[in-house]
Amino acid sequence: MSLFALSDIRFAYAARPAVLDGVSLRLDAGERLALVGDNGAGKSTLLSLMVGLLKPSGGTVEAFGRARVTEADFAEIRPRAGLVFQDPDDQLFCPTVAEDVAFGPLNTGASRAEARRIVSDTLNGLGLAGFEDRVTHHLSGGEKRLVSLAAVLAMQPEALLLDEPTNALDAKARARLIEVLSGLPQAMVIVSHDPEVREALATRAVLLESGRVADEYPL
């Protein structure tokens, strides 16, 4: 089954040349797709388009079995799509870890008791047991990254869209993150400059260049 199918996506930021000029991309269940490309090639833009944070000027986005056009369409799929932002400080906005991880489940209708259970299960699963009451802005870079992943996993997404997941991590934190990610069942799109990440995680890679996706890229 294909989770995402983008066809002929076009997009330009105001008063700038087109970033994406006819991009087509599929993500199938069980796949871990690495998205490679230079700075400014439009990788993050593409992830934003997949969950409807940006709207394409042309082309169609199909997600979880049907075409998605309106804000309501996308609001429904965002918890299922699991976008993890490049900068954890953009994502971790709650005072405490527990609240941040509970934010998604509470939004999607979990009760407080359920949310608490989901929080402790998710944190345990990532080796973050006991982090519940930590203050998010006092966490280290590696911890922030894992907590922002936990916050997304708490919604039990069917896919993960990872934007530079190992960005600004030291070797130890990076190894830990790769280990965590390789143990997850979700299909993934991984935007990464890091060849080691692609090698360790990706099942397939594509290159985004001059607004288009070139065919298979060697892993």
């Binding site: 932002f85 953009d90 906005f93 939004n107």
Partner: protein
């Protein structure tokens, strides 16, 4: 503008002090007590009751084991704000009919009523600020947000407060990094156009970055199903000690006001 090292916290509360006194009490009881005390103190008129209220506030500060230097600095900062008013009051308040001015300075008469008024304001302000530092200043900002939310403060205000607490650190760190980068290229603030321009750029860049960050934060929130309501997860529970403290605070406030009215 103070130069701050990146990594230094933007908000420094007294929450990290010894885990005794008010720090062990339910934050809601402390917020309510502080508000009740402030209202009572503002309602006082006589100097004896005002002096007593400063005494109570001082007692609270000692109970909370506030660090002397840091506390004095903060109280002094507040006093700085009202200093001008206090100095002006004796000269701007007309003396009661038929009384002599207390003294004259450069031909300006100072009234006894004005001086008393100034002393009253100074006592009230210091009593309230000390009690606030002891009761509310000793809790973590986020805990204060939770307490306010549970006390029925409108959700929008609580959200605003918690978001401010969260991102003031990020902005502060960003400001610190920019200032360091400026320093690294030899920038030293002087009284000239170059300094003003550079600081203008710094503030402008901070505003642009904050705006962009707020857009990314909202996008990230939307990705997790945000619909405009921030759910709070807290573990506040009031025990017998909290009720005892609340009752004692209420009685103290009533006693202060009653003694003042009867005097």
């Amino acid at each position: 503008m103070p130069t701050t090292r990146p990594g230094q916290p933007a908000i420094r509360s007294f929450a990290d002090g010894p885990d005794t006194g008010p720090r062990r009490l339910d934050p809601r009881a402390r917020v309510l007590a502080a508000v009740a005390f402030a209202v009572a103190v503002v309602a006082l008129n006589g100097l004896p009751a005002l002096v007593a209220s400063v005494g109570v506030a001082f007692g609270l500060a000692v109970w909370a084991r506030l660090p002397l230097r840091e506390t004095a600095k903060r109280v002094a900062a507040m006093d700085g704000f009202i200093l001008l008013t206090l100095v002006m009051l004796p000269f701007t308040t007309p003396p009661a009919a038929g009384t002599e001015p207390l003294f004259t300075l450069w031909g300006l008469p100072a009234s006894r009523e004005g001086l008393e008024h100034a002393v009253r304001i100074a006592l009230k302000a210091n009593a309230v600020i000390l009690a606030l530092l002891a009761l509310v200043g000793t809790m973590r900002e986020t805990v204060l947000g939770h307490a306010l939310g549970r006390l029925g403060v409108p959700a929008k205000l609580v959200t605003l407060f918690l978001m401010t607490v969260r991102y003031i650190e990020v902005l502060h760190a960003e400001y610190g990094r920019l200032r360091w980068a400026m320093k690294a290229r030899g920038f030293r603030p002087r009284t000239d156009l170059h300094t003003l321009k550079s600081l203008g750029h710094l503030v402008g860049m901070l505003l642009v970055r904050s705006l962009e960050r707020s857009e990314r934060v909202l996008a990230a929130m939307k990705c997790r199903g945000y619909t405009g309501r921030l759910p709070l997860l807290d573990t506040l529970r009031a025990g017998p000690a909290d009720w005892a403290f609340g009752t004692a605070a209420a009685i103290a406030c009533v006693l202060l006001v009653a003694a003042d009215r009867l005097a």
